[in-house]
Symmetry: C2
Subunit: 473 residues, 2 copies
């Protein structure tokens, strides 16, 4: 494993150079994190369809268990069980409009991951950074378990477990565990664990911070160890059921998938699950005794257990919904954890928005009314006072609102409108509005993916490193 | 499937141009041979090890069910369940000595298959053609079920089912079904079905031809249909047991494989099979209630059922041995079919050579003595008179020998020596003589192959065509 060891040391050095102002050493976090035999055990794979531009290049990388779709290059990277879905990348000639500029793409956009170590990450979507329209790059970075790098480049970063950077370009920054950042550009900063930060400069800022004792209970970790706490333990408990999907070459689902919906072959589907029309179920989603109404989606790493989704629901990457009934159009953000039960069910009314990284873990029945915003940590009805607000009320805000640990400042209308537009865009991209002819999206285009598997060298100096591959149409 | 249909028509045209002098149309043989859905059903795959140069390039091809190892390019080819094993290709700087010339290789040798349609073929080994030392090419050719293209380039050829061209460059020629040709160079000829032709120009010529009624019984076919008769039916009867190997990702053999032997993960191993030291068992071999003594090998598409191999035995590609006991060093050539039973067992003495394409299908017990040559068609002891000869007696021949349908002319000593040297070389290449340190061969180097799987586009214009791939170390 000489080359792989060298590769990891190279990534440590490159990332540390970027983080030198903060005297941060990523070495202890990644050096012995993955047991050597695990680098050999899991195949990586990539998907081929007629709908997505294909341009893959893997050079000097370790990719065990990772998945690729669309244009992507990995150069000297360790991607462990990471999901890189590049099926919304911009094409040559597309326009990116930002800050008054209208940028015309010179070439098809590409995801480029170099000198980086990502563990069980989700990398998705096109670069919203107008400074890098053709390249969604991740370089000189370390990103730990279940982090999401979404919609913008990252360089010189350390992301803790379950962190999400969303539409946020990150330079030389440390994003703490379970922190969610959607703030355009972040550089040379340290974002504390459990921070939820949504900002549009000069327009609004939403800030919430989890109490340390809650974080300790749900997400905690030590350097060099996998994360602990209720969230990672919940995922680990289901890990074995995913392994079955990887043990066989072909897998048939014996339930009904409407002809305009798609169920990824790498999703776990347990009994009593119903799939509506125009539904998208992505890789590594887990469904059990749940209903997905028409146009709903369950993105990568989602769990739906005893959950009823009325339709046109977005379950963003890593969202988990257990023992809950969600009304029409309810959005559940990244890595949110909503857990009700028969004794303490959760209801969420039509059109409500559950912000990313929200934890609703019920001891008593809770009902979120229609068209409300939810954030933070909720265990009983009384928590709604400080963690829930009508979208209409928020839209009327122009100034400051403080509720418990939440501080909002600026235009509530812009915040609400931004979210609503985004939910609409996600549904559109996912094919929720397909009418049999128009508004085709992922739900329709992911139906016939051809999966190719790749493995590393199994012995010798290159052990654990994958061969060099260039794959084009 | 527009592109695939065009590709097949292109191959028909290119091959027909080469065969125009013989007014041969390959179209009816391949146009509807493979059901369209089968082009989508079976993954192709390639093997990666630290021991073999890796340089694969697949362009505009359909490769369903095919396997690749070593340097190989396919450009606009249809390879259906074909096995291309390039693990003995020459390297840059190697010498090829032929006809008084000493050729130094300018580059690593590569197998290049273009504008060709191969079905369940076995392509193996390096080019013995001094005119094409760096390229083992197959172009503008059609080669049907279970044919072997071994050790030399082929262009403008049609090979019938179970035909073998061995160390023979073929230009613009038709090789009939179950014909075996080992004759240096063959061009603008038609070799009749069931011919066994071994010739070293100006030194010796061995010629045998199967009676038409025997061929009719064992191998017959019609254009556009899979072959019929005892040999293809025997293979088809076991096809389903191979499917199991392709249904799962990893497969563990629960018997004992010595640490200097290798058992390919795509071989079928049924109960009561014993594997000796330095044994090589290749892909798509089938073993049942059999013993492989030290240094024996079972190459691609071999069957060993109720067979005892004393050791250092070569079971060449496609050899089938049932109900038989083989002495030390017995060689069984390509596509031979040796079938004894409890009532009519077959014994073959030490050091005997079963020529390629021999059929021994017993109604009574038969014993081949030590150090004998066997050919043609044998069903009872009386057949040995015309189909068997002591190697010593043949070595003494310098002139003509006629036995039944067999005509030999020339130096018997050169013929026997040539075969013996070749058997020795095959054992050496396969690692039969490995002493724990030296004389490493395939048996040792195939132990840790990393298998990567590839599939074609599943829909649209490119349906059935594989993406373009370039794979290097």
């Amino acid at each position: 494993m000489k080359l792989l060891e060298n590769l990891i040391e190279r990534i440590v050095q490159r990332t540390n150079i970027n983080l030198r102002e903060q005297s941060f050493d990523v070495g202890p976090y990644i050096r012995d994190l993955i047991e050597p035999e695990k680098f050999l055990k899991f195949y990586a794979f990539y998907g081929v369809t007629q709908h997505h531009p294909l341009n893959l290049e893997f050079v000097g990388s370790s990719l065990s268990g990772s998945y690729f779709m669309g244009n992507c290059r990995t150069h000297r990277a360790v991607l462990y069980k990471t999901d890189v879905r590049g099926d919304e990348l911009k094409r040559r000639g597309d326009h990116l409009r930002a800050g008054g500029f209208d940028i015309v793409l010179e070439s098809d956009e590409q995801i480029r991951i170099s000198n980086s170590f990502l563990v069980k990450n989700l990398v998705h979507n096109f670069s919203h950074d107008p400074e890098s329209a053709e390249e969604f790059f991740i370089r000189d970075s370390v990103s730990l378990h279940h982090a999401n790098i979404h919609g913008a480049p990252t360089a010189g970063a350390f992301l803790g477990p379950l962190a999400t950077v969303d539409l946020t370009t990150v330079y030389d920054a440390i994003i703490g565990s379970f922190a969610y950042v959607n703030a355009g550009e972040v550089d040379h900063q340290r974002v504390e664990p459990g921070t939820v930060w949504i900002e549009q400069r000069d327009v609004f800022r939403f800030l919430y911070r989890y109490p340390p004792e809650v974080l300790q209970k749900y997400v905690r970790y030590e350097a060099g160890q996998p994360p602990q706490g209720i969230l990672p333990e919940f995922m680990d408990a289901h890990e074995e059921e995913f392994q079955r999907l990887f043990d066989v070459v072909d897998l048939e689902f014996d339930g009904n998938v409407p002809e305009d919906a798609s169920l990824d072959r790498y999703a776990v589907v347990k009994p009593r699950t119903t799939i509506g029309r125009n539904v998208l179920i992505s890789q590594r989603a887990y469904l059990q005794n749940s209903t997905l109404g028409d146009g709903a989606n369950a993105q990568e790493n989602c769990f739906l257990i005893d959950a009823q989704l009325a339709g046109r629901n977005v379950m963003a990457h890593g969202a988990k919904v257990i023992g809950a009934r969600l009304g029409e159009g309810v959005f559940v953000g990244f890595n949110s954890f909503l857990r009700g039960s028969v004794e303490a069910p959760l209801r969420i009314g039509d059109g409500s928005i559950v912000l990313p990284h929200t934890i609703v873990d019920l001891a008593e029945r809770v009902e979120i009314p229609d068209h409300h915003l939810v954030w933070g940590y909720i265990t009983r009805p009384g928590d709604l006072e400080t963690h829930c607000m009508a979208l209409e009320a928020l839209s009327a805000v122009d100034g400051e609102v403080v509720r418990g640990n939440m501080h909002f400042n600026g235009s509530g209308a812009a915040f609400v409108e931004g979210f609503r537009a985004r939910v609409e865009h996600i549904l559109e991209a996912n094919g929720a509005f397909f009418d049999g002819h128009n508004q085709r999206g992922h739900a329709q285009e992911h139906r016939n993916i051809s999966f190719n598997t790749i493995r590393p060298y199994l012995e010798g100096e290159r052990q654990g490193i994958f061969p060099t591959m260039v794959i084009t149409p």
